[in-house]
Symmetry: C2
Subunit: 223 residues, 2 copies
């Protein structure tokens, strides 16, 4: 395989990872539609989408391994491929979280409705944006943008804690709504975990970019 | 680097990963001591151990990357190294879960004690055993043992659900203990996530062993 064809294959790998990210984001979107509209069909879409995510996860892993095996990659390409393998694992787990949320929403829909002071769609929107930003950072090799994601994660953690306190107070004051409040609390935690996965991705981007820079400089010196 | 020295380096990589697994297990052990004995010093040990885990995580990643870069690995070695990188990430997150548990335990210790029907150490013991078994499966390249871990994960999920239901009932019936019951519920979920990481490791072992087998057969045929 020529260097050009190898680099075409790296581009293909990147494109597939971005598509995977898009599917994971869409799955979270379905879960939030389900939550907002009380729509069970949107839950079903999340469960369907999980199959697509799992298939994409396997295919990306295999392509990455093939590229590692096919040609002695340069250090910078090597770190890129390893970053893809790690990001791929995080995106697959974003899909798992969307499934957990959808399961929880389906449960909530069976219960009497409760008035709960928790802006779940807001935290979901931020988590979704973090995924997109971390992948943007990856595409551009932009460690500063990745650093932004790490900062935003603190906001998500804070919002999750606020929801936790509010739901705890609700359970304490209105035990008849304990189950509903717990479900919302756990959905907030699932969203926080999605934020954590975006953070992992951002850290991988930093590792990849900074590591690649360091090695690149070494090549310049010795080459 | 000769093939022999390359294989020595692979052994070194494996040893370091096992040590990392041992540290992660120990950290969980400290967190459970803290829970059982109400011992804040054991919480502090968890926080200290996190530093060691993070350092080991970085070193293992760097060694794995060096090995990928240094020599065109054969397909079987390549899958081994990629499996190490993935397992390494899961072990680091086991350490994160131990930290979450220790933080939660420290919170519980500030609250009036509550009688809660939840065998947290039991689920912790099983989660810890799952980590050990998944690493054993890795050392021996034993996909059947890895498969066992996947089965055990169903037990952990069931126990977590049981604790969830029991704590929900407690919160409902004794709102004054809502906070304590929620903390135990969340600790059970952290333990379930440790079980999930063991499951991820077991799946990586299966991927590595079965993938290696397939490729090995191809080599036999063509070679």
């Amino acid at each position: 395989m020529s260097r050009t064809r190898f680099h075409d294959a790296l581009d293909e790998l990147k494109d597939r990872l971005l598509r995977m990210g898009g599917i994971a984001e869409q799955s979270l979107g379905y879960a939030m539609n389900a939550y907002r509209d009380g729509d069970r069909q949107q839950c079903a879409l999340v469960f369907e989408t999980e199959q697509a995510i799992n298939a994409a996860h396997r295919e990306i892993d295999e392509l990455a391994l093939d590229l590692l095996a096919m040609q002695q990659p340069m250090a910078v390409d090597l770190r890129f491929i390893v970053a893809v393998i790690k990001i791929n694992a995080d995106l697959e787990r974003v899909g798992d979280q969307a499934v957990n949320i959808a399961q929880r929403v389906a449960e909530v829909l069976d219960l009497p409705p409760a008035e709960l002071p928790a802006d779940v769609p807001l935290i979901a929107g931020i988590a979704s944006q973090m995924i997109r930003q971390s992948l943007d950072a990856f595409v551009r090799g932009d460690a500063d943008l990745a650093q932004n994601v790490l900062v935003t994660d603190n906001d998500v953690d804070r919002m999750k804690r606020e929801i936790e306190h509010a739901m705890l107070a609700k359970m304490h004051d209105s035990p008849e709504f304990t189950r509903q409040a717990l479900d919302v609390l756990l959905i907030a935690r699932n969203l926080e975990r999605i934020g954590d996965h975006a953070t992992n991705i951002a850290e991988d981007v930093i590792f990849w970019v900074r590591g690649a820079d360091v090695r690149h400089r070494q090549v310049d010196v010795t080459g």
